[in-house]
């Protein structure tokens, strides 16, 4: 499985046709197919290409929603 640094992950921000990746607890998920991640943004406050581990702890939903999407790699720095 591919390993991502935070800098590499940041390239997948969902803008200008790039894939939309987010990290959670060391895993990198591809959320490109999600209606709720259009243009690399989610519910105004969150951006793709980042580690959402801390943000998800405060979100009104748990990781179960993220786990519907394919894991495409591992975040090295986590």
């Amino acid at each position: 499985m591919r390993k991502f640094t935070e800098k590499e992950l940041a390239q997948y921000d969902g803008k200008e046709g790039t894939r939309t990746y987010v990290a959670y607890k060391g895993k990198v998920y591809d959320v490109s197919q999600s209606f709720l991640w259009q243009d690399g943004r989610h519910q105004v406050l969150h951006t793709a290409g980042t580690d959402l581990t801390h943000a998800l702890a405060k979100a009104p939903h748990g990781p179960e929603l993220l786990k519907k999407f394919p894991v495409v790699g591992i975040l090295e720095d986590s």
Partner: protein, 183 residues
């Protein structure tokens, strides 16, 4: 625009641009859900479908009420609505509540309905969290809508066999919580 209103909310530490965008996205979700629920409702037919039609209709009408109640708050805070319907659809805070491939599959219909309500419950919980103790009017409105979305979720959840909702269906009037914003 309500100038002092904006000032008070901003002074309380709320990021107004983010708040307004969230309100617009949730209003868009209500309007598009109203549309999608119209299609779901007319397809709730047969012995099983007819039993769900009434609550789908109540949820549909109340979602439209939520849209109507959100619009004045958006304008008070100097926000504006999209200029065309496609934009409303595309910026929605929730995914489309599309008709399942087989509309006779009642489980699939109920799953679409309950997931739409769960998205709304998350959205208004988020708005309540952002505005609690800071923007009293948006909080009050979001909380009122949240109360109704929670009831919708529990109705559909009950039909899915996940457990009892613990309350009865509406008797006549709709939007018992949000109606004060519709006067």
């Amino acid at each position: 625009m309500a100038k002092v209103t904006r000032e008070m909310v901003e002074k309380a530490g709320v990021n107004l641009d983010q708040l307004v965008e969230l309100l617009v996205k949730n209003a868009a979700a209500e309007l598009t859900t109203y549309y999608y629920y119209t299609i779901l409702r007319v397809n709730l037919i047969g012995l099983k479908g007819e039993g769900i039609k009434e609550i789908a209709e109540t949820a549909r009408i109340e979602d439209r009420n939520h849209f109507e109640a959100l619009v004045p708050r958006i304008y008070e805070l100097d926000g504006k609505l999209p200029e065309d319907m496609k934009a409303f659809h595309d910026i929605s805070a929730c995914p489309p509540a599309s008709l399942p491939e087989d509309p006779r599959d009642i489980q699939a219909m109920l799953t679409v309905l309950v997931e739409a309500e769960r998205c709304a419950v998350r959205g208004y919980t988020h708005l309540c969290n952002l505005t609690a103790g800071k923007d009293y009017r948006t909080y009050d409105l979001s909380q009122a809508i949240l109360n109704e979305e929670i009831e919708h979720e529990s109705w559909f959840s009950e039909f899915l066999g996940e457990g009892p909702s613990g309350h009865f269906l509406r008797r006549g009037e709709t939007s018992p919580f949000v109606s004060k914003f519709l006067r």
